[in-house]
């Protein structure tokens, strides 16, 4: 991942380490995630308590924003001092915590909700695929980008950000450089979207459901989707994650489509079974999310247990948000190629506007979401 402290992500030199040593290398970064996430939560609670005690109307700034802001400051300072390397393995576990949090969040959904909202999200995702795909191809041609870089940007913006780019890279034999540009552009735009989407949502007085659905459809990376939703409200984060999970579930099929296109373009046929390609790219944590939701639908949990699971999910997300801040490096973001960034930015703005329109239309047609 180029724009997220590339150098720091390289494995430490030497032969492959044993399991205890690899586990020990996670500790500094894990401690840093906690050292940033927990104070963020304390700051939110302290400000709220101060406002109540002194009858002062302070803006309610969620822990999410504090965690990301603290992470940005500490991460960029450590990166500038060349001291991030020791923390990198542990900080990188934020993707793992994100997925743990999403699986646990399944307890807050009934399968019927998932079928209803997931179905709606999937229908909107199909619209988004067509628009984003066509748009990115047109923009890529207009800006003189190669077809593979254009394809990576298209899947990154329409499906699932970095996951989709990585999943597609291997299937179409894209260059590392193209992959880095595409990932850099998507991450840079995700960092902007993280703050822009909640601001727009508040300005438009969007409901939690509508905002969550919009963010889940328009923001590319799952971590940024969850963070932008949580900045709005807990309820918005819940629906944002559901819409994004529906989007994530389509990765395998999109990779298959793109790989088939590039194979036929080169006069080749795909090796191996299509089903195994789809399965290998399918995000397995979606199955965990559905399994926990099935348990909740079968009333396997009482109310205190549901609260405990929701809180465990929040703790996992807290570490995720700290990681998002820590891994976003402004110096590296600036180094990204300008043309992929421009193509991505133009595409993302149009996609955000189109998905916003689609969500508002769905809201009007299907009733308040």
């Amino acid at each position: 991942m180029v724009s997220r402290h590339e150098g720091a992500l390289e494995a430490l030199p030497g032969a492959p380490a044993s399991l205890p040593i690899r586990a020990a290398r996670l500790l500094p970064g894990l401690a840093l995630l906690l050292a940033i996430g927990y104070p963020a939560k304390l700051i939110e609670a302290s400000l709220k308590a101060y406002g109540q005690a002194h009858h002062v109307a302070l803006p309610n700034i969620e822990y999410v924003l504090w965690a990301i802001a603290l992470g940005l400051v500490v991460g960029n300072a450590l990166g500038a001092a060349g001291a991030l390397r020791i923390f990198a393995p542990g900080v990188d576990t934020y993707e793992f915590f994100l997925k743990v949090g999403i699986v646990l969040l399944g307890s807050r959904f009934l399968l019927a909700d998932i079928a209803k909202m997931g179905g709606l999200a999937l229908a909107l995702v199909l619209v988004e695929f067509v628009i984003a795909g066509g748009l990115m191809v047109a923009l890529g041609r207009a800006f003189g980008l190669g077809p593979k870089l254009t394809a990576l940007l298209a899947v990154g913006s329409s499906v699932c950000g970095v996951s989709a780019i990585i999943a597609t890279q291997g299937a179409i034999d894209a260059d590392d450089e193209d992959t880095s540009y595409a990932i850099g552009a998507i991450l840079a735009l995700g960092a902007v979207g993280l703050f822009a989407f909640p601001a727009i949502g508040h300005a438009m007085h969007m409901s939690d459901h509508s905002f969550g659905l919009w963010v889940g459809l328009a923001v590319d990376n799952t971590a940024e989707v969850t963070a932008a939703g949580a900045m709005y409200s807990d309820e918005a984060a819940k629906w944002a994650v559901l819409a994004k999970t529906a989007r994530n579930a389509t990765i395998g099929f999109v990779v298959l489509g793109v790989a088939t296109y590039f194979a036929s373009r080169a006069g080749k046929t795909l090796r191996g079974s299509r089903a195994s390609l789809v399965w290998s790219r399918f995000p397995k944590f979606v199955l965990g999310f559905l399994a926990v939701s099935a348990l909740a639908s079968a009333h396997a949990f009482d109310k205190p247990q549901l609260t405990a699971l929701a809180n465990l999910s929040r703790w996992a997300f807290l570490l995720t948000f700290a990681g998002v801040g820590l891994k976003t490096n402004f110096v590296e973001l600036k180094k990204q190629g300008l043309r992929p960034l421009l193509v991505g930015a133009i595409g993302e703005v149009i996609i955000a506007a189109v998905t916003l329109g689609a969500v508002l239309v769905a809201d009007a047609v299907a009733g308040p979401l």
């Binding site: 990188d92 994100l98 646990l104 990585i166 399994a291 699971l309």
Partner: protein
């Protein structure tokens, strides 16, 4: 080699993280369900 420490630079390492997250989350669910993990503060 799959890496739990993120840096998910391949589909394999991403799948490994996915499965690890599912296992850990399901263990937490089992602990909560069985009562071994009681109230979780926030």
């Amino acid at each position: 080699m799959p890496r739990l420490d993120g840096a998910e630079t391949s589909a394999d390492s991403r799948a490994f993280t996915d499965w690890a997250a599912v296992v850990v989350a399901l263990v937490l669910v089992a602990l909560v369900r069985s009562g071994l993990l009681g109230a979780v503060p926030w």
